[in-house]
Each structure stands twice: as C-alpha cells, then as structure tokens.
Amino acid sequence: MNLDYTAEDEIFRAEAREWLDANIPREVRPPDGPGMREFDLGWQRKQFEGGWAGVSWPVEYGGRGLSLTHQLIWYEEYAKAGGPNAELLFVGCNHAAPTIMARGTDEQKSYHLPKILSGEVAWCQGFSEPNNGSDLGGLKCRAEIVGDELVVNGSKIWTSSAHLADWQELLVRTDPAAPKHKGISWVICDMQTPGIELRPILIMTAPGHHHFNQVFYTDVRIPLSNVVGEVNDGWNVAMSTLGFERGTAGMLENIRYGAVVERLVDMARQRLGASALENDDIGQRLAQLRAEVTAVRAMTYRIASRAAIAPPGSEVSLARAFFSQLQQRIRRIALDIIGPDSIELPEDDPWIRPYLRTYSNTIAAGTSEIQRNIIGERVLGLPR
C-alpha cells in the first residue's frame, strides 16, 4: 500500500492547480434554465480547450489517456479549488460516453464523443418509467422496428434536464415476447425528434425549480443505426454504465464532502465554542461524521486502486450505500448547528436546499433498499 505519487503525478497536480486557479469560473452558476446550460457547456468547453476535460479518456476520443489516479488528482484539485458542480454534463460524460466507448459503432464514437467532451452538447437519461423505479428490467416503453427505424411509444420519468438536453440515452423494449431482461435496447435519441413532449416535475427542494421531467414519446422515429450494442442486448449495455456510476463517477462528490464537514465544524466551533464542543451532542455527532467522511476518501482510494486492476463490480455498492446515507446525516446536522434560522430559506441558501436534496440520495440511481439487496446477494452471496 502507498499514497505516493510519482514525480510525473506531482507535476500533473501542480499543472492542474495552476490551471484551475487561473480559469475557474468566478460567476455564480445559475440554478436552472438556459443560463445554467450555457454556464455548464461553457465551462466544459474551457476545460476541454485547456486539456482537462477527459483526463482518463482514451487519446483517440480526444482525452489525455491518463490513469484513474490522474483523474483522482484532478478531482481533488477541482474540489480544493471549489470548482462548480456542472451537473448538466454528468450524463453525457459519465454515462453516455463510457457506454458508447465500450459498445458503440465507429460512427457513433466519432460523431458523439468529441461533441460530449468539448461541451458542444448536453445529454439526459431515459431509463426510469412511471411504473418501474427500482425494477429497471420491467420497463415497458415500446420500440417497434419498422424498416430501418425504431418507432417509440411510451413514457420516461425522472429525466433530469430533459428540457435542456440535445440527446438522450434511452432504454426501450424492442422484444416484448422475450424474458424481461432480454428484449431491451439502448438507443441514442435526438431530443428534437417530433413526437417528444415534456412535462416538468416540481421537486421538494425548490419552489419553481425545473429539474425533473416526464418525457412522452408518440411515434418517435429513431434510426436503427442509433442503437448502441446489439438490438435486445440493451440490458447488458446499460449495466456497464450503471457500474460506472456506482464506481468512479461519484469520486468528485465524495471528495467534496470533506470540505462540507469542515465548514460545519467551523460553524459549530463559532456557535458553541471550541472547548464546549468536546462532549456536546453536536460535537460528538460531528466527530463521528468527520471520521466517516475521512473514511469515504479512503474508500474512494480503494475503489480507484481496485479499478486499476479490473472494472468496478458490485462491491462499489458498499461505498455508495454508505455515502448516500452519510450525506443525509451530514446535511441534517447543519440544521442543528444553524439553529432557529434553519426555518428560513434565503435565495443564496447554502444549507437547507442541499439538505432537502439529500432525500433523493437514497432513492436515485438505486434506492438504499436495492443497494442492500445487491450487497447481500452479489457481495456476500446470500440467497435471493
């Protein structure tokens, strides 16, 4: 075991820090709408032009072709520099692109990957449906093959930023007669295609904030050449993407949370006095959270160490399940530290909305219950 970095790593780190210092956006990121799209894509373009957009992407797709350790160094410096949480890019960079790299055709790769990396386009996800949340394999959105096209009818839900996205990674049922995991296809869908309609879904964190959508498809025609992997093999294609999300894609967020806890420690010291904190219930709970978030960094390093040998497997659910609940505990204690002013919700509120938002952490991308099933069955080998 070691935490050593090579001289080359350290040069990379210094370069990253220098570039971030000079280039990190000083403006506040708009929370929503076209302004947010412009901000996120602009920032992605800037990173791309600086050579930082695809640290661990293969060189052939415009990346630097460096190791996951380099990616981790970049995330660490990004978090330290207070880089923005450019969520609109997440699906494209961390879901769609890795999937297309792994299973796409040459045409798909050469058309989409550069656009994603350079911040030209935004992607959204079309996996969940109104009647299948945890049971992804039970999806019903239907795509009939008509000539060289798919004709899609049905609905998707929980699509973040569908109204701001150019493309969608879409799971559809292409063979209703096959066993439920065997008739699904993974398709690239142009969000401008006729027949797509959106319904905004308001969420609990922010009155008026438009983030989630339900998407309706009526005779939406998609070229068969947009299928990634084989027709009816979409389940396997999607699983590789989910593994990625559960593995390394969350690293930046994990690292960022260490700083959140330190801000809380500072606030608690100010409010209660550093010496009073020792046996105080808030001090004791904060100490626990501080130790746990420190351990999350260690878990991230171990995942990166494993990923250097083999692609992440079910064991990444251990870190994910832990971290999603830890975030809730961390955000929850903020209210106890802030005290009565917690009932306010200032426009630039740094604590209450993030707290409310953590309610989705144990639901989105696999509920805590599903994560625990995975751990029980696939990591520990307990019977179904």
Binding site: M204, E344, S360
Partner: protein, 342 residues
C-alpha cells in the same frame, strides 16, 4: 383510568376531522399552489371560530367552550394530520392568555376576527419579570393583531406592533409566512413563566399533539402508497424493507399518541406533573414527526421528493414546529434538568 377517548370526545374528533376533510384537504397544498403562498388557511379561522374550535379549551366564563386539554390535544392531532397552518396555535394560546384579564381581546381571537401570530426566539432572550428583548421569528403574523411568544421558559401575548423591524423572509416550509423582528424591552399584555401555571406546558402539549398528527398522516400516506405501488410484480409493502419501515413509523406514531393522551389528562387536572409530561410528549412526538416525515419520503421512492405528492410536506412542517419555542436539543436540555415524575 381510561386512555381512550370517551364517546363525547370521539364526536369532537369526528366533527373536526369532517370539517377539515371538507375545508382543508391535503390537496390544497399540491403543486398548483406550490411556492411561497403564505397561510393557506386564513380563510378557515372564521369557520373554525363558528364551530367553537378556537376557544375549545378556554373556560366558559372566559367565553370559551370550557373543554379540557384532552379535547384540545385531540383537536390538534387533527390539525397536524391536515397540516393546518400553525397560526392556529397563536389563536388557541392567545385566547388562553387573554381570557383571564382581557375578555374583549379573548373574544375577538376566539371569534376569528383578530388573528394571532407566533413568535419564537432566533437566539438568546434577555430580560426578566415580564420584559423581553431579543431577535425573533414571527410566523403567520402578517395579518395578525397579536403575537404569542414562546420561549423555553415563558409564554407571552403581545400586540404585534411591539415587535420592531418586521421584515419578510422566505421559509423552508413554503405554506406559511415568515418574518424577522426584534423586541427591545417589549412588554406583553399577559404572560406566564414555565413555573407559573400550565400555559407553557399547554403550548408544548399542543405542539406535541400537532406533531403526532403529522406523524400519523405521514404514516397513512406511506401505507396507502405501499399497498398500491407495485415493483417486481408485487406491492412494495410486501417487501420487508418497506413493510418494516412502515412498522417503525406505526410504532413512532403510537408512542407519540399515547404520551400525548397521557399528558393531556395530566394537564386537564392542572397537575404539578404537567410540565414533565408535556415535555416528554413534545420530545417523542416531534421525534415521530421528523422520523415519519423522512421515512415517508423514502417509502414513496422517487415520487416522494417531488411536489406531486404530500410526502415532503410532513418533514418540512415537522422541522418548522421543532423550532417553535426551542428545538429538540433545547427541549431535551430542559427535560433532563426536570425533576423525576414516577
């Protein structure tokens, strides 16, 4: 000894529940009304006044219905279930504080013609002998004539204009109106300390009862959903992960409900044990509301953190009432210092 409602008490519960089902269904808080819409229930006060609900526990000689803390607590459980604006607490507590010495004010409050807001400390409250200074939040006070201030050791009724520098703020709970304001040697119309009568204990009891209602409604919503929502080909309530969460919510609601009933009987007898039992009820009931509010969202899955179902409203309201007069941390500090009652 009987901790179940009498037939008369059950009739009051049914009356209030029926009234709220007709006049204040949870759907009124659905997304079409989402946002900082202020008190959605201001229009209810006159109707509630007509039914006598605002002066339910005020003695008949004070102009009220002359019922006890037991009936008040049962009513407040219903208020919590329907997420009635917490401004109602101002009316009930204000009427009690006014009834003994200011019959006109009490009458106006109970008639619903004078609204009463709530004040709760933002930090330390200075002063003694009925003079109060400090920074406060005012809740549902925008149209109020009077304000009931609740601190961890006193309760007081003010004219609203005693509070200076009133300025509006957005709130985490978007179905209410919030202001900041200050008192500088503010003099209440009427007040009592925690040691002096049961006014203060009544405030904690009614907050506990309201919280119990919140916990029960969050449970009911989660159970209803778990029965109909299917995943993997069966209702999610058949999976232990969901079933046991619902069971834990049911336990929390039952714990709260029993202790609220117990405390309400103790208060109705004006017992020395009132403060102890009211604090105990507040601690377990606010805990139940916070827990059930959060668990209810998880049981609902993704729909749970949208504004399309009520699940999120319960946890937000639970946080709001937690802070009125001091949060769980403050209440537990008070409670561990209290003398034993066995």
């Amino acid at each position: 000894m009987n901790l179940l409602p009498t037939e008369e008490q059950q009739q009051i519960v049914d009356m209030v529940r029926g009234f709220l089902a007709a006049s204040a269904p949870l759907e009124r808080l659905r997304p079409d009304k989402f946002g900082q819409i202020g008190n959605p229930d201001a229009a209810l006060w006159p109707k509630m006044a007509e039914l006598g609900i605002l002066g339910l526990g005020v003695p008949e000689e004070g102009g009220g219905l002359g019922l006890s803390a037991v009936e008040e607590a049962l009513t407040y459980i219903e208020f919590g279930r329907a997420l009635v604006s917490v401004g109602v607490l101002g009316a009930t507590l204000g009427a009690h504080l006014a009834a003994r010495t200011m019959p006109d004010i009490a009458a106006a409050i109970m008639a619903g013609t004078s609204a009463v807001g709530l004040a709760t400390p933002r930090g330390t409250v200075a002063g003694d002998d009925g003079i109060f200074s400090g920074e406060f939040h005012l809740i549902e006070a925008n149209e109020a004539d009077f304000i009931v201030l609740l601190t961890s050791d006193a309760i007081a009724l003010f004219r609203r204009d005693e509070f200076m520098g009133q300025s509006e703020r957005l709130s985490m709970d978007s179905h209410m109106r919030l202001m900041r304001a200050a008192l500088e040697s503010g003099k209440p119309l009427s007040w009592s300390s925690v040691k002096d009568g049961i006014d203060h204990a009544r405030a904690n009891l009614l907050i506990a009862a309201y919280a119990t209602g919140v916990a029960e409604a969050a449970l009911a919503g989660a159970v209803d959903y778990a029965k109909v929502r299917e995943q993997f080909g069966k209702p999610i309530g058949s999976f232990q992960a969901i079933k046991h969460k619902c069971a834990d919510m049911a336990i929390a609601a039952e714990v709260a409900s029993c202790q609220v009933s117990f405390a309400s009987v103790i208060l109705s007898k004006n017992s020395d044990e009132s403060r102890f039992h009211a604090l105990a009820s507040r601690i377990v009931a606010v805990d139940a509301a916070l827990k059930n509010g959060a668990t209810g969202i998880q049981v609902h899955g993704a729909i749970g953190f949208t504004a399309e179902v009520e699940a999120h409203l319960f946890v937000k309201r639970a946080h709001l009432i937690d802070f009125i007069g001091g949060d769980q941390r403050v209440q537990k500090g008070q409670f561990i210092g209290a003398d034993a009652v066995i």
